[in-house]
Symmetry: C2
Subunit: 250 residues, 2 copies
C-alpha cells in the first residue's frame, strides 16, 4: 500500500490517498491519541467508484471518521476511473441511454452490473487485507453504500460484521439470490421517490434478506435527498454493532 497524498483536515481527520497495485483509494481516519485502540473500519462503496468528485459522499466519509471510524473507499476493477474494455464502455452507454429514455433496463443492467460485482469484490477484499494491517485500523468491519457489492461481500467475507445498504431498487440476479444468505445486522436506507430505484423492488429486497436484525429507513425524496440525520442514525447503527473507538475526535 503506497500513500500518494496525505492531508490533515480541519476536523482532525487524516485523509490519505493510496494505491494498492492497480487499485486507487482514499482512507479517512479519525484524529486520535497514539495509544488509542484501532478505529473500526467501514468500507464505503459506490457503484460509480471513488466518491472523490462528489462532495456529498466525501462529506459523509469525513463525518463518519469524526464519529471515530476509519473509512475507506476505492475504485475497484471496472469502477470509476479504472480501465474498461470498449465492450464494457458500450454496455455502460447503452444502460445510461435506456435509463434516460425510460426504457426497460433490466437486461442491460444485468449485463453491466452483474460482471461488475464479480470483478469488484476481489479488489475490496485485497483492500480489506491491506487496511487491517495498519496499526490504526481494526475490526470488526462495517460496510456502507452500494447494495449489490455489499451483499456479495457480506456473504463471502466473514470479517464484515454489519452493513448499511442504500437504495437497492436494481440488484443483479445473483445478489438478489444471495440476499437470503446475508446474516449480519443490516440497515437499508431507501429514498421513497428514488427516480432510478423502483420502490417495490427495494421493499422486496428488504424482505428477502436472511438476517433477523434488519431495519429499513425510508425518507421522502429522490436518490440524492437522504436527510442529514440519517448519517447520525447510521453512525449509531455502527456503534451498536462495531463498537465505536473510545477516543474519537469530536
Amino acid at each position: 500500500m503506497r500513500v500518494t497524498s496525505e492531508q490533515r483536515l480541519e476536523d482532525g481527520v487524516l485523509e490519505r490517498e493510496f494505491t494498492l497495485g492497480e487499485i486507487p483509494g482514499v482512507l479517512w481516519t479519525p484524529a486520535r491519541a497514539a495509544s488509542a485502540a484501532p478505529a473500526p473500519l467501514i468500507l464505503m462503496a459506490h457503484n460509480n467508484g471513488l466518491p472523490k468528485r462528489d462532495p456529498r459522499l466525501v462529506a459523509r466519509a469525513r463525518r463518519t471518521a469524526v464519529y471515530g471510524y476509519a473509512v475507506a473507499t476505492i475504485d475497484a476493477a471496472g469502477c470509476g476511473d479504472r480501465a474498461r474494455s470498449a465492450a464494457e464502455e458500450q454496455a455502460r452507454a447503452d444502460l445510461r441511454r435506456a435509463v434516460q429514455a425510460g426504457e426497460p433496463a433490466d437486461e442491460i443492467f444485468e449485463s453491466v452490473v452483474g460482471p461488475l460485482v464479480e470483478k469488484a469484490a476481489p479488489d475490496w477484499r485485497t483492500t480489506l487485507d491491506a487496511l487491517l494491517a495498519l496499526p490504526e485500523v481494526g475490526g470488526p468491519v462495517g460496510y456502507s453504500g452500494w447494495t449489490a457489492l455489499g451483499i456479495r461481500l457480506a456473504v463471502t467475507e466473514p470479517r464484515i460484521a454489519a452493513a448499511c445498504f442504500f437504495a437497492g431498487g436494481y440488484v443483479p440476479r445473483a445478489q438478489r439470490e444471495e440476499a437470503r444468505q446475508v446474516t449480519v445486522p443490516l440497515l437499508l436506507l431507501l429514498q421513497w421517490d428514488d427516480e432510478g430505484n423502483p420502490r417495490q423492488r427495494a421493499l422486496d429486497l428488504f424482505d428477502a434478506f436472511g438476517t433477523r436484525e434488519k431495519t429499513l429507513h425510508a425518507n421522502l425524496g429522490g436518490h440524492t435527498g437522504t436527510p442529514p440525520f440519517e448519517l447520525d442514525d447510521k453512525a449509531r447503527f455502527y456503534d451498536r454493532h462495531l463498537g465505536r473507538a473510545a477516543t474519537s475526535a469530536a
Copy 2:
C-alpha cells in the same frame, strides 16, 4: 386537574396519576431544577387506553421523560377502563372474535374504531389544555402511538408539532382521508411482521401522509417486537422537532 397519587421514581422522574373530570391519566415529568425551562410535552396514546398495566409502555414513557420530556397518557372516552355501552362492548367483542378467527374485520373495525377516534379526540384536547397550564410543562407538543387518533389530532390541533405513529395497518376511513392533510414532521414505526397490521396498508398510509418530512422505520418481528434502539431514534426525532429541554435528567 386533580393529582391522585404522586411518586418520585428511581430515575428521578416524577410520576403523577391524575383525573380531569371523568378522564383518568398519568403524567411523567423529568427531574429538573426549579429554574429550568418547561419540558416539551409528548402525548402518548394507545387504542386500549392507559398503558398502566403494560410494563413495556410504562417503561417507554419513563425513558422518554428521562430524555427530558413531559409524557402524558389518558383513558380517553371509550378507551381503557372508561364506561362503555352494552352495544359498544358487543362491537368490541365482535371485533376481537373476528380478528382471532382471521375473518375479514374491516367493517367491524370501522364501526368500533371510527366512533372511538371521534369520542377520544376531545378528551385529549382537554388534557392538552390542562397540562400546558402547568408551569413545568410546555410546548411545542409531540404525539406518540395510536395512529388513527394521532392523525385526527395532528390535523385539528395546531399545537402538535411532530408525531410518531406506530403500526397503522388498520385505520378508519376518515383518518385514511385525513392523512393527506397531516403536515407536521412524522416518524412512522412499522413492525414488518405485525400480526394485526397488514404491512401493505401501513406502507400505503406512509405514502399518503401529506407532510414532506416523513420517515419510515421498519423492523423485523411482530407487534410487540420493536427493538429498544427505536426509542432512542424516536427521542432524537423529537429532539429535532420539539427542542429538548436543556436541563433534562440523565
